[in-house]
Structure formats: C-alpha cells, structure tokens
C-alpha cells in the first residue's frame, strides 16, 4: 500500500521566544515491511537541523532556532510503501533487546485495576492472549476523537470511559507488561481510526514481543493488528518517549499548538 503523509505542526507563542530547542521524531525508517519512497522535513524559519538516532534506534532530528521567534511550522511530507505482514515487524533497527520493554515508566505504571484487567485475559498461547487483550482494551473504551491530553498516564486513562488512540495504546502496553510480555508504544501515521476532522494528530499504537515471531503490532483503537495501513516512525517505552516533537523554549508566555494532518492511501 502506498501511504502519503502531509503533517504540519505549528507552534505559536503569545510572546516572542529567545530560543527553541526541539527533538523531532518525524522521520520513518525503512523495514522489510515498509520502505520510504520519499520524505521531506521542512521548517519555515532559520533553523539548524541535526540528524541522529536515539537509544531506541529511532531517527531523530535536533532543531535549534535562535529567537526572537513568534511561531514555527514544522512540516513533513512523503510517501511510504507498505506490505502486509499480519502485524509482524520485520527488519526494524533494534538496538535494544525485548526485555528492556518490560519496565514501567511513570506513564505506564499499572494500578490494581489495570492489573486485574490484564489478569482477566484468559490463558492461552501468547499471540491469542495479546489479541484478546487488544480486543478487551478496544471494547473497554469509546474512542475519544478530541485531542489527546498531554502526559496522561495509563492509570488516569483507565479510569475514563473514553480514550484517545494514544491512551488506549498506553493502557495496552501497561497491561501487556503486567502479563510479562514486552510491549512498547509506536507513533506513526495511519488513515485507520483517524480522529476528528478538526483535531488531527499522528497515530499511536502498540507492539508486543512474541517469542518466535518477534514484535507484533496491535492497535486497540481498531481491536486489530496494525497492518499495511500503518507507517511506523518511532518506538519507545511510552507515548512521551516516542513523541513526534519534544521541545523546550526559552521565553515567557503561552504556546498554542496547531496540527494539520492528511494521511491517504493510494492503492496497492
């Protein structure tokens, strides 16, 4: 499948900033199941960009802007060709062993409710259990089409009736780890499960490790495995670690975030 992506992130500041430093995870990497046909990153002001990789193997871009700056637009666009693999990830850059992805982070610490929820998944072979968990998370929540609340933990999300795709993915990985299955958060793009027209956002789903198979992608937003309609960009222990933009600014006032996103599939 050919997925074309046009993703613009705009920050506006209520007063000019002296400096902006951002860590971007906006460039997808090729795997055996996904090849990047074209990809561009463009910033609408004088900025210095430095490319690298983080400890999880994600491609990163450091963005340095010297102020005064009142707004910045970061635009990525390109095309990714994907192949169906039943959700199994092949040939990704994996610098860390799966065991790292068993640890809890502040956003993915389970409480008794999540632990009970996870333990209620019937025993079975690992892949069946994970599908059951994925479906359970999917059924547990109504899809919240508003913008995800930044920094919401799995515990907080679990106490709500509706959840954003990000929250659901984070509940999934928290619960999977309770079951002693390595699990991680994935950020990327998918036309499936697109949230409300006025409030688009990059998608977030999960991957869990199954011995013998490798990493398998699950999207609790659909209750299915993530298939060829997904372009993965970054993985991490939680949504914060895989965030498309982590930023720091020097200056006073508020920041307003605006995201414009189009993900289209253009056939086989």
């Amino acid at each position: 499948m050919r997925l074309s992506v046009d993703h613009r992130t705009t920050y506006r500041f209520s007063s000019p900033q002296a400096r902006l430093t951002q860590l971007l995870r906006l460039i997808p990497d090729g795997t055996h199941d996904q090849s990047v046909a074209s990809w561009n990153l463009h910033v609408d002001c004088d900025a210095r960009l430095r490319h690298g990789r983080d400890g999880f193997g994600n491609r990163t871009t450091m963005l340095y802007v010297e102020g005064p700056i009142e707004s910045i637009e970061i635009a990525v666009s390109g095309e990714v060709l994907t192949h169906s693999s039943n959700g199994v990830v092949h040939g990704a850059h994996e610098p860390l062993p799966p065991a790292v992805f068993l640890r809890a982070t502040p956003l993915t610490t389970p409480d008794a409710d999540i632990a009970a929820f996870a333990s209620a998944i019937p025993d079975g072979d690992p892949i069946t259990r994970l599908h059951a968990l994925n479906l359970a998370v999917h059924r547990r929540f109504a899809l919240d089409r508003g913008r995800a609340v930044a920094g919401r933990s799995a515990i907080t999300a679990f106490s709500q009736g509706a959840a954003s795709p990000r929250d659901m993915a984070q509940v999934f990985i928290t619960a999977a780890r309770v079951l002693d299955v390595p699990a991680r958060y994935v950020s990327g793009y998918s036309p499936v499960c697109a949230v409300g027209a006025g409030r688009p956002a990059p998608h977030g789903w999960a991957e869990a490790y199954v011995a013998g198979l490798g990493w398998v992608a699950f999207d609790p937003c659909t209750g299915l495995s993530a298939d060829e309609a997904y372009a993965r960009v970054a993985v991490a222990l939680d949504s914060a670690g895989a965030a498309p933009v982590a930023g720091s600014r020097l200056g006073e006032g508020e920041e307003m975030l605006d995201v414009d996103l189009h993900v289209d599939r253009s056939g086989q």
């Binding site: 400096r19 860590l23 430095r50 999880f56 193997g57 340095y64 068993l102 930023g247 720091s248």
Partner: protein, 494 residues
C-alpha cells in the same frame, strides 16, 4: 549477637594496648598530647570549616545550612605496603567498571556469555535505554569513582559500595589535610605522608584528557544544581581550585549540537563538563520531560561526540546495589583474573534461598534498599529495636527484590576523641580513583568517615558520622610509593 571486637587501625589486633610497630610515633603523639589540647585543635579545625562554609544540608532539617560534618583530630594511617595492595585492587575494580559500562551499553558480551542474568540489567531503572549506543569520548565512562571500603583485619579490605555516578567528599579529603598540616605539623615530621593537594590538578588533567578529539585547549566546567544543593560547597571548591567556571544548567545552551556557556562577553564553547547533577536532570528532552532543570539538547551534543560528560550518563547501572553482588564476577570477566579486592558477602533477597536466610537472621545482618543511599532505608540488625526488625521483616516479605543483606562486619576502629577522651570508633574509607584517556590513577588519600556513636556502624554524615584525615605513608620499609599509586593500565579498554 554481640559485636566481635574489631581490628584497630592504629593499635592493631583487638585488645592491643601498644600501637602497631610502624605507627609507634602516632601512639607516642597520642600519649603525650593532652586531651584538652587535642580538643582545642579539633575545635579550631571545626571553626575554620564553619567560616569557610563547608556545610552540608540534611534533607528535612531546617537548620541545614548551619551544619558542618564533625572532624576528628586523630588521623587514620595506611602503610605504604598496605596502600600499594589496595591501589592495585582499586585500579582493577575501576578498570572493570569502565569495561562493564562500555560493554553493557554496547555489545553486551557479559550477557551473551551468561555471566549476569539479563533481567538484572534490562529491568533495572539504572540501565538507561535512552543513551544506549552512545560512545563517550575516549570510551571513558567512570572518570571519578569513590570506592567505599571497609576493613576487618590487617589484610582484610572489602568493597562496600562502588560510587560511579557523582561521588562526593573529596573536598573533605583536601580540607581535612589542610587542617592537619596547620594544627598538627609535628605529625608530618614523624611520618612521610603522601600529598593529596594535587587532586584538583589531576582532576583537571583527567577532564582535559577526555575532551573530544581535535580540541586543542578544551574549555572545562563544573555543572552544579545550584547553591541550595547540599554539596554546593564542594562544587564551588572544585571549580575554584581547578580555575574553571562553576555553571548551572541555565548558563549552558546547546546550539547545532554544540554546548555553549553564556558569558558577559558572549557565548563560549564548552568541551568537558564535570556534572554534579543526576542523569534525570541533564536534558529534559531525553530524561525527565517535566523537569525545568537541565540543558535541552545536551544529550544530542554528547551523542554527536561534541562534549565529554563526567561521569558518563547511564553509569548508575555500575554502582547499583543489585549489580554490586555480581561485581566479583564482573571483575573476573573483564580482567581475566581474580578480584584483588573482595566484596562483602551479600544476600540477594530476590533469591528465595537468600531471603529465607535473611529473614531467619534479621537480628544479625545489615539490610539495605537496593535503590537507597545515604544510610536511609537501612536496618542494622544488632543495634535495631524489635519494632524496627519487624517493620523490615514486613517490607522484605512484601518487596524482596528491593533489598540486599550483608553480615554485620566488625569494622575496623580508629582512636577518636569522645566526651570521655579517646576511644575506638568504627570507620570506613572512600578513596578517589580517576580515569582519563591515559589510564587509571588512585589519589594517595581519601575520606575516612567515622561513626561517632559508640558501637555504631553507620558512618554517613546525614546520620551523625564524622570525618578524619587519611594518611598514606610514603615509606614503611617498602618500595617508594609513586610507582604504585600512579598505576596506569596498559590494556585500558579500547
């Protein structure tokens, strides 16, 4: 269980009434200097420390800024031969720590060879996946180590803890020596004591040696959390004595993967950072996103090889208490030989057998939190109350993986000034080991901490411990010292 009587550093075997032969001069000094005079000198030293502002803050103590660490006037003394053996062990240990960090954030041979259980590393919060794959300049990780040692007999030294993150206390080593030179000059005529005052120069040399390649005159700085930090005196002391800037995170800015400091004449490129802040507060973009502290982009600059950070981020995995019990295996794995400095026997409560033993012997052992420090979260069985023991029993059963236990050792003593005159008090020892691009060196001296309460084994300053000067003798009939303390590794990790 009663405490076994302990080896005394000065008097020798327990019960001895005459000093060890090599230290007769110190025995004589103690015998001929009236207690009142010793007390006067001790008070004079403490008054100086107070004036200099050598204070530390105890968390939760409102008078924090007014406290100094008590100083004891009687030094502890290492013979040259003792020090030579100790140094060899320290060099071996620190080389292994560096090799371990290099490996664990790289190839992880030690795991593929089955020496350590992988979950011990990967499940450990001190293993930082964020920085996996980054190579520090010159492949040096643990530039400044403070290895805590205890002694139980003439030749019996044990490593209690490896401090490979931001060990403190070196300012006490230097200030205590200054005080002794001023107040007890006669001791330096009786003994040839190795000088410690070259420490700041050695530290600066170490810093410069690990500067990124191609930097001709590296700019070095000390990074402090600020003047509210309990060890701020030491941070400023080190910066001043090296003649480098003492910076806070807000003084640094990263641009284009290069670190700069903001000065009144514009920005100046920084090549080497001796940081005295935790990993969590280094870079909010990588570690704690909620932290307002830190230098955004610092890890990117580090990953790009444009700045050296001492000690390297991620080092906590090497001095973690859960890893500690495996240090003999780790040393063996990387050095190919037997460890010259043994560990204290340690029960890992995560292991059911060990947990059972510990629960059965709570009154005789020391129990420590794996992730605790400063003497908090610790049970000293023989001196604990019944209630304390029962509280720890419950905690151990609830979360055994958080604890290790060790036997209560008969820690060596040194005569120490008390209200009732000189009396033996238990001590430990923290020597400082520097690793630069050219190898490992042990500074001939260190910080002796003393438990001032009779019978107490807790030497932490936050728990009422004091300090002493630590003499390393340059001769005691053995070979000259220089060759031993400056031991440089031929096969330092490539």
């Amino acid at each position: 269980m009663g405490m076994r009587s302990a080896f005394d550093e000065i008097m020798g075997q327990a019960g001895s009434t005459t000093p060890r032969a090599e230290l007769a001069a110190l025995g004589n000094w103690i015998a001929t200097t009236p207690d009142a005079e010793l007390r006067r000198r001790q008070q004079s030293a403490e008054a100086t420390f107070r004036q200099l502002g050598i204070t530390f803050a105890v968390y939760g103590d409102s008078d924090a800024s007014e406290r100094i660490i008590p100083f004891d006037i009687v030094p502890r003394i290492f013979l040259a031969s003792e020090w030579a053996r100790l140094s060899e062990g320290l060099v071996q240990r620190v080389e292994a720590i560096n090799a371990f960090l290099h490996d664990i954030y790289g190839e992880r041979r030690i795991l593929s060879d089955g020496v350590l259980p992988p979950d011990l590393i990967f499940g450990n919060p001190q293993f930082r996946p964020e920085i996996a794959g980054i190579r520090p300049p010159h492949d040096v990780w643990a530039h400044i180590c403070g290895i805590d040692l205890v002694r139980t007999g003439p030749d019996d030294f044990f490593v209690l803890e490896d401090n490979a993150r931001t060990p403190s206390g070196v300012s006490y080593m230097l200030e205590n020596r200054e005080a002794m030179l001023r107040l007890c000059p006669e001791l330096f005529r009786d003994f040839r004591v190795a000088a410690v005052d070259s420490y700041p120069d050695r530290l600066l040399e170490t810093m410069k040696s690990v500067a990124p390649q191609g930097v001709a005159a590296p700019v070095c700085v000390v990074l402090t959390p600020g003047h509210y930090n309990s060890a701020y005196y030491e941070h400023s002391f080190l910066a001043d004595s090296m003649g480098v800037e003492l910076v806070e995170a807000a003084d640094l800015v990263v641009d284009d993967d290069i670190v700069w400091m903001r000065t009144i004449a514009g920005r100046v490129k920084v090549d080497v950072i001796y940081r005295r802040i935790d990993d969590d507060y280094l870079d909010p973009l990588v570690f704690r996103p909620d932290s307002m502290l830190g230098v955004p982009g610092l890890i990117a600059a580090y990953a790009a090889g444009n700045v050296a950070i001492l000690n390297a981020p991620g080092n906590g995995i090497a001095d973690d208490k859960a890893i500690y019990s495996y240090m003999p295996e780790i040393v063996k794995f990387y050095s190919g030989g037997e460890p010259k400095l043994p560990n204290v026997e340690t029960w890992r409560c995560r292991e059911p057998q060990a947990l059972k033993y510990v629960l059965d012997n709570l009154a005789d052992v020391v129990v420590k939190l794996v992730d605790g420090s400063g003497g908090y979260g610790m049970l000293v069985g023989p001196t604990a109350t019944k209630a304390e023991i029962e509280a720890f029993r419950a905690a151990l059963i609830a979360e055994p993986h958080r604890y290790i236990a060790q036997p209560t050792l008969a820690l060596s003593t040194v005569p120490t000034m008390t209200d009732a005159g000189l009396a033996p008090r238990h001590v430990d020892f923290r020597p400082f080991v520097l690793t630069g691009s050219k190898g490992v060196q042990v500074v001939p001296g260190g910080l002796t901490r003393v438990a001032l309460k009779e019978g107490s084994l807790v030497v932490n300053s936050s728990q009422g411990g004091g300090t002493k000067d630590s003499f390393v003798l340059m001769d005691d009939g053995a070979q000259p010292l220089e060759a031993q303390t400056q031991t440089q590794s031929q096969e330092q990790t490539a």
